[in-house]
Symmetry: C2
Subunit: 119 residues, 2 copies
């Protein structure tokens, strides 16, 4: 059957992101509460660059990865856009810092501290 394209593609498949003022604290906390997603956020924070999805090794299947990236995007934690065949991902640092000052940094520090200090 036909390509079923044309919905909103045309210029290259835009992805929906919440506006800065639409970001909800509960959703951000929920997004960060999953170990897999927290690992993604830590990797993005460490890189401070745009990364392809595939650049972040997750021990799960592709479809599960897609799911986690979607949760992060819809909660406003990351931004994604297509760049050719790859999908580039970056943290929405500015937006998060503006809306919830200090939150992201303290979570990242906490994650790092917890891992190093161990028990």
């Amino acid at each position: 059957m036909v390509t079923r394209l044309g919905d909103e593609a045309a210029a290259g498949r835009e992805l929906a992101h919440p506006a800065r003022s639409e970001i909800r604290l509960e959703q951000v906390l929920h997004a960060l509460a999953d170990p897999m997603r927290l690992a993604v956020v830590r990797a993005l924070a460490a890189a401070s660059e745009q990364l392809a999805c595939s650049a972040i090794e997750l021990p799960v299947s592709k479809s599960t990865s897609t799911h986690h990236f979607r949760v992060l995007r819809e909660s406003g934690v990351i931004r994604q856009d297509y760049r050719g065949t790859a999908k580039m991902t970056c943290l929405r640092r500015e937006d998060l810092d503006a809306r919830f000052p200090g939150l992201l940094d303290s979570v990242l520090a906490a994650a790092a501290g917890q891992e190093n200090a161990g028990r």
Copy 2:
């Protein structure tokens, strides 16, 4: 049938709390991600005193309240102990600040900001 008591009561029913070093970031974030529990934490932070469970009005049944308080306690966010017929509850500020510096404050500030600023 018999009282079935005596397990660990005797001195007045102690409750299990995780040690400071046992507190896990993911569990804390998960505990705070629920609107009901976040409201409890905000109330406790505002009071900066011990409160009885019943002093925090939640629009849910008693058993659901018990559930939320247990999640908060088992994740290390609050401390509870019996005082006669009431169960007193307080935030574990020191422990949280020591383990995850700045986290609690930024979450509380974010919650307050989100509520005031609205959309």
